[in-house]
Symmetry: C2
Subunit: 212 residues, 2 copies
């Protein structure tokens, strides 16, 4: 099963997909059945052309004279993004931020199951946080050997971030959701890093409020 019509999908297109998915989910919840690229674009502040171009990278989801069936289009984009792929994830580092994510983030809605968390703090090890067991770091390698782990959420201190990433890559991890504000690197192109750089984001805002 392959959705791609083009082989080189640009970063910009991929980053718009979750926004489409979000918007379509909203429309679904509002009970809206069909939508044209025209009106979808209007709602999202992008051109109808771009929407049609974006979708055309993956297939033909619309119908001339009609537009797109919201629910169907949503399902297609969800499938492209992999929300039904049964992805599994573990968290390394359960500080304040890790806690917040475990408690609040709707992992299931993005198709992820959180199987475990790992930390060095003795008072955390052995506890459950929102049904996720917290294990000792010593158990990490063994856990990865015995489980399918698609993505690691990296919420460790900056000082250990790259070392931790390096050993996780050695253990076969290919996906990193990186909250450490460190620019992680790997020599293997199949290893993917998705960074949440809080500081970069706030500095961007800082610039914009001063330069409107």
């Amino acid at each position: 099963m392959n959705f791609l019509k083009k082989d080189n999908i640009s970063d910009a297109v991929i980053r718009r997909l979750p926004r489409y998915y979000r918007q379509l989910t909203d429309l679904c919840n509002q009970g809206i059945v069909r939508i044209s690229s025209q009106s979808l674009g209007q709602e999202m502040g992008i051109t109808a052309s771009q929407i049609r171009q974006d979708f055309s990278c993956f297939g033909e989801f619309g119908q001339q004279g009609y537009g797109y069936h919201v629910e169907e289009l949503r399902r297609e984009i969800g499938q492209i993004l992999g929300v039904d792929k049964d992805h599994h994830l573990i968290m390394i580092g359960v500080g304040n931020l890790g806690h917040a994510l475990l408690q609040n983030f709707p992992f299931a809605q993005t198709g992820f199951t959180v199987d475990a968390a790992f930390d060095v703090a003795p008072n955390l090890i052995g506890t459950m946080i929102n049904n996720v067991p917290v294990y000792a770091m010593a158990d990490l390698a063994g856990f990865i050997r015995e489980h399918k782990v698609d993505v690691v959420v990296l919420t460790v201190p900056q000082s250990v971030a790259q070392d931790m990433a390096t050993s996780l890559i050695e253990m076969g991890i290919k996906g990193f959701w990186n909250f450490t504000n460190v620019e992680l690197a790997s020599e293997f192109p199949e290893v993917k890093f998705e960074n949440i750089h809080f500081a970069d984001s706030l500095l961007t805002l800082s610039y914009r409020v001063e330069n409107p």
Copy 2:
């Protein structure tokens, strides 16, 4: 005091500035005094051309035959980003995520002072979190009237996000650091939203690990 040489600085350039700033801070801490666009590019995985183009939007920070003085360049970029602008910030919504940010995020390093947080929970109101006082929502309008507030961190539930943003805009707020995973909008172009869309980010990663 105006740094701009060009008037239209693209989004892409602005988003690279914090990365430059981060890299230069690292280099500073390593005690490195000078660097060429060539080697800076190598370290960051971008071309020397791009670096020189980016910097040239704001001024002439280098010297032929020498390169850039790391500390000076860092200071310049920091100034462009506004880290020395005495920016003030308040937080609306002090749940797990808000807590995590208050406890861990180095606001001072990005030039922000957190003056207050606001929440509806009676058990939080009146407490201090990492030296930040938590007030009742009823005190919000008054606080904003009496203080300089450049940015609001929005860490409220999705359901109230847009309404809260709308009233904050009416109170004169121009900068939103938005963690609600809702696409906020304003009719005023001078109001800036900087979004941290966790779900979008994870979905992007989900796509990438499946399509290497």
